[in-house]
């Protein structure tokens, strides 16, 4: 792999989401595993076709929500009963019904912050540069073209073979992606 390190992978361009989906399936069948797809809009079925596993964002969100909720309730409980007990209208110090709205809000806050930042962290975003940006035509990935990249760290990776294979799948352009 060391001698190929100047190549990031092979990038193929497709005109329609259907062609891309078809290509992804064929590429997966051929045994390639380190692949990535780039589309201007979410393509239904692509996620499954690429064989992506479920990520951990839901778990992170759940933990964030629990932390927010328990923290929110706990903090109010601590303030009202231990740190600064105050008699408000003769109600008990642990007036739990009054704590629920804040507990709820902090559950939502904790869950949503963890969802957004957990997602960014797992995606390794922000990511200002990516090797595929070296390909001039890649700018079409944000308008009307669909790209599939077989990465050089794939066990089966071989530049010419990959390029030929992608050509056979009706790719418009197949380009080597430089790694810099």
């Amino acid at each position: 792999m060391e001698q190929r390190s100047h190549i990031y992978g092979v990038l193929a361009e497709f005109a329609t989401p259907e062609q891309l989906l078809e290509a992804v399936k064929k590429v997966r069948e051929a045994g390639y595993r380190h692949i990535d797809a780039f589309t201007p809009f979410p393509v239904e079925g692509l996620y499954e076709a690429m064989g992506l596993k479920r990520n951990n964002v839901p778990l992170i969100t759940l933990l964030g929500g629990l932390a927010g909720g328990i923290g929110g309730f706990g903090f109010q409980y601590w303030v009202n009963t231990l740190a600064y007990p105050m008699n408000i209208g003769g109600r008990p110090l642990n007036s739990w019904p009054a704590f629920i709205p804040v507990t709820f809000e902090l559950t939502v806050l904790g869950a949503s912050l963890c969802a957004v930042f957990g997602m960014l962290a797992l995606n390794r975003l922000p990511h200002p540069h990516h090797p595929v940006f070296n390909v001039h035509r890649f700018k079409h990935a944000s308008s009307d073209r669909f790209f599939l990249c077989i990465e050089s760290n794939d066990a089966k990776f071989h530049v010419e073979e990959c390029a030929r294979f992608l050509h056979d799948l009706h790719a418009h352009h197949v380009t080597e992606v430089a790694n810099d």
């Binding site: 239904e44 079925g45 499954e48 076709a49 839901p58 759940l62 209208g89 109600r91 019904p97 009054a98 629920i100 709205p101």
Partner: protein, 395 residues
């Protein structure tokens, strides 16, 4: 694509027959109870009536919500929803026992001159809570719901034949918004008349919404059970996909949360105010035997379904999701028991009528629902979104 008729399978006919038989037998047995002791019969009857009313009216609300938002989830369950709304004529009939003889047993507090003398009502209440006012208003509520039922079922049926007529789609959408407002308005007033007036000295402004949210929970639960049951046989087995169940499950979670939110809002406001005339509602319901029922409702109507429905796998699971749904319908009954019964007794023990009457009314309702389901194709064939909604994405 080959034209499919999507007619109801054999199993719906079997369900119809069985439900009618069970319902009729149970109602016959329960009628003996009505003769022996109307005092215990009518509170049970009211509770069971409110449960089946929720199944029908919640469906009316969801039909209109579906026309307004047009999601794939709604196209899948639209025909079952419409069939559930067409049970409203049965609910008019089921309301008659309350209107004819039940009122004087249920609404002692404002119908019995002796009770009125003991705890007088305000001038306005005396003018509003009258025997005839109650009946006239009930007539109006049913008229509103029946009108909505006829409009949305009629236009939907036209869509089946005039498939190219896009104006129908627009009209359904235009009518759905005002329709939802009318349904919620009528339901709010009905909740005040039929349930809140059991204790006329107590008032809550969110009471109607509590019922609307509860009805949405019942109806969505019933729809989930229905589609899973239908998907056991052709033609629905080719239609229902995990993504549909996932959407329905998400909505069920949202409705459970909405219900909990309304219920808690009422508790928080009354608890904070702690006013003698308001707090009575919770004094009777949060202590003693009723306190146990309150905990059961909190844990099994909210916490358990909430945490189960958070899971994506469970929402997509054909075995588990309908079980959660049916459990929630049972919990709706417990919640209605907790809402209505403490006005009559401090004992939170269900009588044999509390078991028999939900089966009786539920059986008749289910039979009528199954009968309605057979009258139309199981999918709205004229809906422009149908093809997209039932498309299979190959993996």
């Amino acid at each position: 694509m080959a034209e499919q008729q999507y007619s109801a399978p054999e199993s719906v006919t079997r369900l119809e027959q069985r439900a009618f038989v069970v319902g009729a037998v149970a109602l016959g047995l329960a009628a003996l109870g009505a003769l022996r002791s109307p005092e215990t019969f009518y509170p049970s009857y009211l509770m069971s009536f409110l449960l089946v009313l929720g199944l029908a009216l919640g469906s009316l609300g969801l039909v209109m919500l579906q026309h307004l938002t047009s999601g794939h989830w709604g196209i899948i369950i639209r025909r079952p929803l419409e069939s559930a709304t067409r049970t409203l004529p049965l609910l008019v009939v089921l309301f008659l026992p309350i209107a004819i003889s039940g009122m004087k047993h249920l609404y002692r507090a404002w119908l019995d001159p002796e009770e009125l003398h003991k705890e007088p009502l305000s001038k306005f209440q005396q003018g509003y809570l009258t025997h005839n006012g109650y009946l006239v208003r009930a007539l109006i509520y049913f008229a509103v719901w029946l009108a909505l039922m006829f409009i949305f079922n009629g236009l939907s049926k036209q869509q089946d034949t005039n498939r190219e007529d896009r104006a129908l789609r627009r009209r359904l959408k235009m009518l759905a918004g005002p329709g939802i407002i009318l349904y919620v308005f009528a339901m709010s007033f009905a909740a005040i008349d039929w349930v809140m007036s059991l204790s006329p000295h107590w008032a809550s402004t969110i009471y109607g919404f509590l019922f609307v949210a509860g009805q949405l929970v019942s109806s969505m639960s019933f729809m989930i059970s229905t589609v899973v049951l239908l998907a056991r046989t052709e033609p629905f087995s080719n239609v229902l996909q995990a993504r549909h169940l996932h959407d329905l499950g998400k909505l069920l979670l949202a409705f459970v949360m909405l219900w909990a939110y309304f219920d808690f809002s009422q508790l928080l406001i009354i608890w904070s105010g702690n006013l003698p005339e308001e707090i009575t509602f919770y004094r009777t319901r949060l202590y003693g035997e009723w306190g146990v029922v309150a905990v059961i409702v909190l844990v099994f109507h909210f916490f358990v379904p909430f945490f189960l429905l958070l899971s994506q796998d469970l929402k997509r699971n054909r075995k588990v999701l309908p079980r959660i749904a049916m459990w929630l319908i049972l919990m709706r009954l417990v919640d209605l028991f907790w809402m209505t019964r403490p006005e009559f007794t401090s004992r939170a023990v269900p009588t044999w009528l509390d078991l028999l009457l939900p089966i009786a009314l539920g059986g008749l309702w289910l039979g009528f629902f199954a009968f309605n389901l057979k009258q139309c194709p199981l999918l709205p064939l004229g809906d422009p979104g149908l093809a997209e909604a039932i498309k299979h994405h190959e993996h």
